[in-house]
């Protein structure tokens, strides 16, 4: 399935280049990150885009390992939560996990 949206950014129209995620959207998220994230070099969103992709892959892999340990073939959000809790690197996601837990009990 092709993504129809426009990829604003640095590359000349037609090619998405080495990044998948739309640069404008990334910039928006960055600017909401807290005090003073105002000016960003043109290339930074590109690094962010790729870093984000790598992060998602890392989280996916670890979550899938939990799924397989449970001898299942469907990755569910509890697997993601378990992967987060089992990995120090993902400590910054612990808030999200506790929010997910809350929605589970509702």
């Amino acid at each position: 399935m092709r993504q129809a949206g426009s990829y604003s950014g640095i590359l000349i129209s037609g090619k998405t280049g080495p990044h998948l995620l739309p640069l404008a959207r990334i910039k928006k998220i960055m600017k909401k990150s807290g005090d003073g994230v105002k000016m960003i070099s043109g290339e930074s969103p590109i690094v962010f885009s790729k870093a984000c992709e790598m992060f998602i892959k890392e989280l996916t892999q670890r979550s899938w390992m939990v799924t397989m340990q449970g001898k299942r073939r469907t990755l569910n959000k509890e697997d993601v939560a378990s992967a987060v809790m089992a990995t120090d690197l993902f400590d910054f996601l612990l808030n999200l996990v506790s929010e997910m837990d809350t929605s589970k009990s509702s």
Binding site: M1, Q3, I10, L11, I12, G17, P18, H19, L20, L21, R25, I26, K28, I29, K32, S33, G34, V37, K38, M39, I40, S41, G42, E43, S44, I46, V47, F48, K50, A51, C52, E53, M54, F55, I56, K57, L59, T60, Q61, S63, W64, R73, T74, L75, N76, K77, D79, V80, A81, V84, D88, L89, F92, N95, L96, E99, M100, T102, S103, S106
Partner: protein
């Protein structure tokens, strides 16, 4: 209660889904996998938080250097700081590749522009009139497009 985040503040779900599926097809070459909708939401949200986290860290590093504009070095340092140093090498390689491609494209476009300008000058010195005006408009449009690509 789920936090409501507007669509424009989130990463496109379809793209996150694609990245997840690509990774899973690597982990499970027989394509015997499924992903629950809630898990996709979790991935999307996690990615957004990752950007926030990395951004804030890079911004702090930038401020410490007394600069206004966050640059890629700040981002690389931030990755080290949040213990994602494994990402740095492949990211540097990716950035270098992008810079190379972009430089090639700019070089090509600049040459084309120069050739067109030359032709325009030759044409306008040969004749005056609406035809020249049309060519100028086309050229201006092209210049605008090139500016956008920067």
């Amino acid at each position: 209660m789920e936090k409501v985040v507007s669509e424009t503040e989130e990463l496109p779900k379809a793209i996150v889904r694609r990245v997840v599926k690509e990774k899973l097809s690597q982990c499970s070459p027989d394509y015997d996998f499924n992903v629950h909708k809630d898990a996709h939401l979790a991935f999307t949200e996690s990615a957004r938080i990752f950007i926030h986290y990395l951004s804030a860290t890079a911004n702090d590093i930038c401020k410490e250097s007394k600069r206004q504009t966050m640059n890629t070095e700040d981002v690389f340092k931030a990755l080290e700081e949040i213990e994602f140093s494994d990402f740095v090498k492949p990211l540097r390689a990716s950035l270098a590749e992008f810079r190379k491609k972009n430089a090639e494209k700019k070089g090509g476009a600049a040459k084309e522009n120069e050739a067109k300008k030359k032709r325009k000058i030759e044409d306008s010195s040969a004749k005056n009139g609406t035809k020249t005006k049309q060519k100028k408009q086309d050229n201006d449009q092209e210049e605008e497009d090139n500016h956008e690509s920067e």
